[in-house]
């Protein structure tokens, strides 16, 4: 199969032909944008081929920038500017996930998780429970063995009025640590609330 794509030698980018509609080739366009991103990352890397993923080839200056932004967000949290903190955590997250795709995933994931943790907490405190729920959902997907992520997701779900979902999240979290005091307390509370809702 031949795709309607064209290569521009000056920008080194592959794009959809002008005479086709983007909506018709949605998947192809996603693939092309990912290819162009990877090409620009390879060009900026400079080497003949991308280096093997390791600690040495990991971009440390980007890590330092992410850390700075994270620290700024933490200080906003301390002064109770939760909406600002959520935005700053979001920026830190963007920085962390903007590194070259061929860099070590093992080193990227803790950075991303720390930013998501912070943003989730900031959103919970700011009352943006749906955003907090989404952040916690990503956290439970990328690091499923951390009970605190289920606590965050459960609290967000409870505040969204999803009591049964919240109960399931607390129970899941307790599977990883049976003696987690906050999860236990939240589970007890939610069981009582569900019973109240059922008229018991």
């Amino acid at each position: 199969m031949t795709y309607p794509i064209s290569y521009d030698s000056t920008t080194k980018k592959v794009t959809l032909d002008d005479d086709v509609s983007a909506s018709q080739y949605k998947d192809l366009q996603v693939e092309l944008s990912q290819l162009n991103t990877l090409t620009s990352e390879l060009v900026s890397n400079g080497g003949d081929v991308p280096p093997a993923p390791s600690k040495e080839s990991y971009n440390k200056s980007l890590s330092a920038m992410t850390k700075k932004m994270h620290e700024a967000a933490v200080s906003s949290m301390k002064t109770q500017k939760f909406a600002d903190a959520a935005k700053q955590f979001g920026l830190a997250l963007e920085m962390a996930s903007r590194r070259a795709k061929f860099e070590s995933f093992q080193l990227t994931i803790p950075e991303v998780a720390v930013c998501l943790n912070g943003r989730c907490d900031a959103n919970l405190m700011a009352g943006n429970f749906l955003d907090a729920y989404n952040d916690a959902e990503i956290l439970t997907n990328i690091m499923p063995n951390v009970p605190d992520h289920f606590l965050r997701k459960g609290v967000a779900a409870r505040n969204l009025g999803r009591l049964v979902d919240a109960k399931a999240e607390f129970e899941r979290g307790l599977c990883f640590n049976e003696s987690h005091p906050k999860l236990q307390a939240e589970l007890q509370n939610i069981v009582v609330k569900i019973a109240e809702e059922n008229g018991e």
Binding site: I5, L38, A52, A83, K101, F105, I138, R162
Partner: protein, 199 residues
């Protein structure tokens, strides 16, 4: 008694010496025809079988760019090859994840021959694809193949992570529609608080 044995001898003498040869020839021809027809049917069946995975877009893009005139920059081709490798690794991982379950379901009779065959077939295709990718990587730079697959794996994981992080807004809309929530932006909330404070 003597007359009876004479009749038997006469009957034995009537069978031609070519009879067993013809018999063997007919048997072999029948087996060859059966084998040819059977194999053709199998190949046709495999060709008609629905592929396990959808179209491999990164692979097609790579080939299209590789054989295009004028030839794109080497970095673009390498990036396209890495994306092709990343897709191959993603597919291989999916197949390995499913392998045990597919086998178990097949043994229990929960899935049919066709799905099981499609899975087996896809595994073989992916193995060949990985071999081909190794050779292709070597053609760009001698000794690149060992680090090439490690790079492809990182690209696969990092892309998956980015997809999840980027899907937050879309997921928010889906959930709010599903749960019937009214989502207020942070700006609107601040505006509301300001007007409340003013009144």
């Amino acid at each position: 008694m003597a007359e009876e044995s004479f009749i038997k001898e006469e009957a034995a003498a009537k069978i031609s010496v070519y009879t067993p040869i013809i018999y063997v020839v007919v048997m072999i021809t029948a087996l060859v025809v059966f084998s040819v027809v059977y194999r053709r049917r199998n190949v046709k069946h495999l060709q008609e079988m629905k592929p396990f995975f959808p179209e491999n877009i990164p692979r097609e893009i790579y080939f299209q760019l590789k054989y295009q005139e004028p030839k794109p920059n080497d970095k673009v081709l390498k990036a396209a090859l890495i994306r092709r490798g990343s897709e191959a690794i993603r597919r291989m991982m999916k197949l390995r994840e499913n392998q045990q379950h597919v086998k178990l379901l097949y043994e229990r009779g929960s899935i049919g021959d066709e799905l099981f065959l499609r899975h087996q077939f896809a595994s073989k295709i992916q193995e060949l694809e990985l071999q081909e990718l190794g050779l292709e990587a070597e053609s760009y730079k001698q000794g690149w193949a060992p680090t090439f697959f490690a790079v492809c794996q990182e690209v696969t994981f990092n892309e998956a992570l980015r997809r999840r992080v980027k899907a937050v807004d879309e997921r928010k809309q889906v959930l709010s529609a599903e749960w019937g929530l009214v989502v207020e932006s942070a700006e609107k909330k601040v505006e509301k608080k300001v007007t409340e404070a003013a009144t």
